[in-house]
């Protein structure tokens, strides 16, 4: 399973189970987030703690989903950056686009 879904309260936590999250899986990932939104999910946390590398297409999918989510009045939050992913997020200022947390618990809590 590339993506693991788990429900904590009314928050959907999507674990990305890929060392390299790249364009091969980006479309499937976007579909997953889109259908979750269609099912009425408004609080989503994406867990990257298994990822050493997230490519630009994958991030693109994430941002497009975030845009749709904000329009729907919800939010997507990110957790579990490994050092390289964190550096990339900071350098590209993506950490200002998403609300980012260290742990899933923190992210879930922030929705309260």
């Amino acid at each position: 399973m590339n993506f693991v879904e788990q429900k904590i309260g009314d928050v959907l936590v999507v674990g990305v189970n890929l060392a390299r999250a790249t364009l091969q899986e980006a479309d499937a990932f976007k579909q997953l987030l889109y259908s979750a939104m269609d099912n009425g999910e408004r609080k989503i946390v994406v867990d990257f703690s298994q990822c050493d590398f997230v490519d630009s297409t994958f991030l693109g999918a994430l941002v497009v989903s975030l845009k749709r989510m904000t329009q729907a009045g919800g939010d997507i939050k990110l957790v579990g950056f490994r050092p390289a992913v964190r550096s990339m997020m900071e350098l590209t200022r993506m950490h200002k686009v998403f609300d980012c947390f260290e742990t899933v618990q923190d992210a879930v809590k922030s929705f309260e």
Binding site: D52, F53, G60, K67
Partner: protein, 589 residues
């Protein structure tokens, strides 16, 4: 009156200090030198500044921004080539609508500018030098003046005669002086201009400054000015300890007998002895039993146990420690600084990228030459107008934002992309066209059925053949095969001002990263379907593409797998991916 601060120089005599810090940003009691200059000039009503930049420009502009924090207006003149001080004023004629004050970025004085200005105006001078008496330096050209202070000679001192004057690095200039400065040529406001002044007997005068004068030219000057200003401050305020003393051990604090400056968050442990004056930056730890005298310890440094530092500068981010029971003794105008590694692999990589660019673009142009000729003929026959269309593309935009503030860079960097002309040369109503933008209201602009496009043009665009002449740009070195796609000025400016989209304003910072990257033909965005992607996706692709141009080794290490965008394999695979995507005709309109 407006001010121009010359801050472009590399400061080679100040190395290694200037490897990471441009000279105007070197700290005096933990505040950059340039701020002392600005504060001094402001006292005399100068509140608009231009700062010329070249070496490590981001260090200066990210600190000063548009100057609002310091209650002045600051703009920047970014110099691509270092052509000395004359060029710095020659390239900004529009800044001269009145007399302007020019100030070196490595000089600090207490000059009375009202007096200097009155001196300049009264004599109807076109260019005035603040000068100091040259008592010590013998092997240097000097300025000689007549009884009215007009400059009459510039040269070595004649044997037996009294000392003369040397420039202090502060000038008052009228616009006329620009007529004597050549464009795009190395020209110094000292030697070169003085020669012309003497030859042509121009009305240029020398104002003798007799007060304080510091020039930071060598590392020892930085140490001296720090200690000197600290001592003066101690005398003036009649106290010894300045800055943040909360981190100093109590016993040490009560034992201090010479002036001491301590920055924020710094800690001085027990049994540390200050034998003479010392300036300590932010986030410094001085551990037990160390002795410091007459030294400057820059930010974020750890001085281990039993280390003795005397007459020395310890550069920032250093850790001085020893594993033995013996200590370390650092003394005598010593500059302790890290070695900046020039990575051979970086140079090789850069050269090989350029070689690949040259070879592939030549091979491409030769192989494609029959097609190029056919296209040229088709364009000529299909509609009137030239074959090649030069498209303005922005490398660096003019407006830059830092936090919530805007400031202006001059000039913006423009590259002319060579393309086959695909449009009619008649004019169209831009607003009407705007309503058909496939990106909607965003900063990017692209039409699906553009009425301006010719028949041949439609085919060329569909097949991306219109981009083929870009190989000439690559060969010329205007752009690389791999990099971010250059935006037309309007799109670039929109992106800077409004971000990617109104409802997604916060993506703006991400989108602007692209301007830090090299321009190129192939890249993430270009290889991933181009116009099929949304503006948001495009912004991210471009930002990550631009990351490939990061030179900082530390950053690159941190980026791990991302640095592969800067590898040869990545380079080639992006070229291949882009070609594939173009052949599949993905998202080309």
């Amino acid at each position: 009156m407006k001010g121009l601060i010359l801050g472009a120089g590399i400061g080679s005599r100040l190395q290694p200090l200037t490897n990471e810090i441009p000279a105007p940003m070197l700290p005096i009691l933990n505040k950059p030198l340039i701020l002392y200059i600005i504060e001094h000039l402001k006292k005399f009503g100068i509140d608009e500044f231009k700062i010329s930049l070249h070496h490590l420009p981001e260090v200066i502009d990210s600190y000063l921004g548009d100057g609002e924090e310091y209650d002045v207006k600051i703009s920047y003149s970014l110099e691509k080539d270092l052509l000395e001080t004359g060029y710095s004023i020659k390239r900004i004629p529009s800044y001269f609508n009145d007399t302007i004050l020019i100030h070196y970025g490595n000089v600090l004085t207490n000059i009375d500018l009202n007096e200097f200005f009155y001196f300049h105006k009264q004599r109807k001078s076109v260019f005035s030098y603040a000068v100091i008496e040259n008592r010590f330096l013998k092997e240097i050209c000097e300025i000689s003046i007549d009884e009215k202070s007009q400059i009459i000679d510039f040269g070595y001192r004649k044997s037996g005669s009294k000392y003369q004057f040397i420039p202090a690095g502060i000038f008052l200039a009228e616009k006329e002086v620009l007529d004597y400065i050549p464009s795009n040529k190395k020209f110094s406001l000292e030697e070169d201009l003085l020669k012309i002044i003497c030859e042509k007997k121009l009305p240029a005068f020398a104002y003798i400054h007799k007060g304080d004068y510091y020039k930071i030219q060598y590392p020892k000057d930085l140490l001296e000015i720090n200690i000197q200003i600290l001592k003066l401050l101690a005398l003036a305020e009649n106290k010894l300890i300045f800055g943040n003393k909360y981190g100093i051990n109590k016993d040490v604090l009560s034992s201090i007998t010479s002036p001491l400056f301590v920055g924020e968050n710094s800690i001085v442990n027990k049994n540390v002895v200050f034998k003479g004056p010392a300036v300590i930056g932010d986030d410094v730890i001085i551990d037990e039993g160390s002795t410091i005298s007459n030294s400057l310890i820059m930010n974020n440094t750890y001085i281990g146990k039993n280390i003795e530092i005397e007459n020395a500068i310890v550069y920032k981010n250093l850790c001085i420690n020893t594993r033995s029971d013996y200590g370390i003794y650092v003394t005598d105008s010593f500059v302790l600084a890290p070695i900046v590694k020039i990575r051979v692999s970086d140079k090789i990589r850069e050269i090989s990228f350029r070689l690949i660019d040259i070879i592939l673009s030549i091979v491409g142009l030769i192989l494609l030459s029959p097609i190029l000729i056919l296209i040229a003929l088709a364009i000529k026959l299909d509609s009137k107008g030239p074959i090649i269309f030069k498209s303005r593309r922005v490398q660096t935009p003019q407006l830059v934002q830092q936090g919530d503030k805007w400031y202006r860079y001059e000039p913006e960097k423009i590259v002319y992309y060579y393309k086959f002309r695909t449009m009619k040369i008649d004019a169209y109503d831009r607003n009407e066209l705007k309503s058909k933008n496939i990106y909607g209201e965003g900063p990017y602009f692209k039409l699906k059925d553009d009425p301006r496009i010719t028949r041949v043009g439609k085919f060329l665009r569909k097949t991306s053949l219109d981009e083929l002449p870009l190989l000439i740009n690559v060969l010329k070195g205007d752009l690389s095969l791999v990099g971010v796609w250059g935006l037309p000025p309007e799109e670039a400016q929109n992106l800077m001002e409004k971000g990617v989209s109104q409802e997604f304003y916060r993506l703006k910072d991400v989108a602007q990263i692209r301007f830090k990257g090299r321009l190129g033909l192939a890249g993430y965005w270009q290889s991933r379907g181009r116009s099929e992607l949304t503006a948001e996706e495009r912004a991210i692709h471009d930002a990550i593409q631009a990351l490939a141009n990061i030179k900082d080794e530390k950053l690159r290490k941190k980026l791990g797998a991302y640095s592969r965008v800067n590898s040869l394999r990545g380079y080639i695979s992006l070229i291949l991916d882009t070609i594939k995507s173009v052949i599949k005709r993905k998202g080309a309109y």
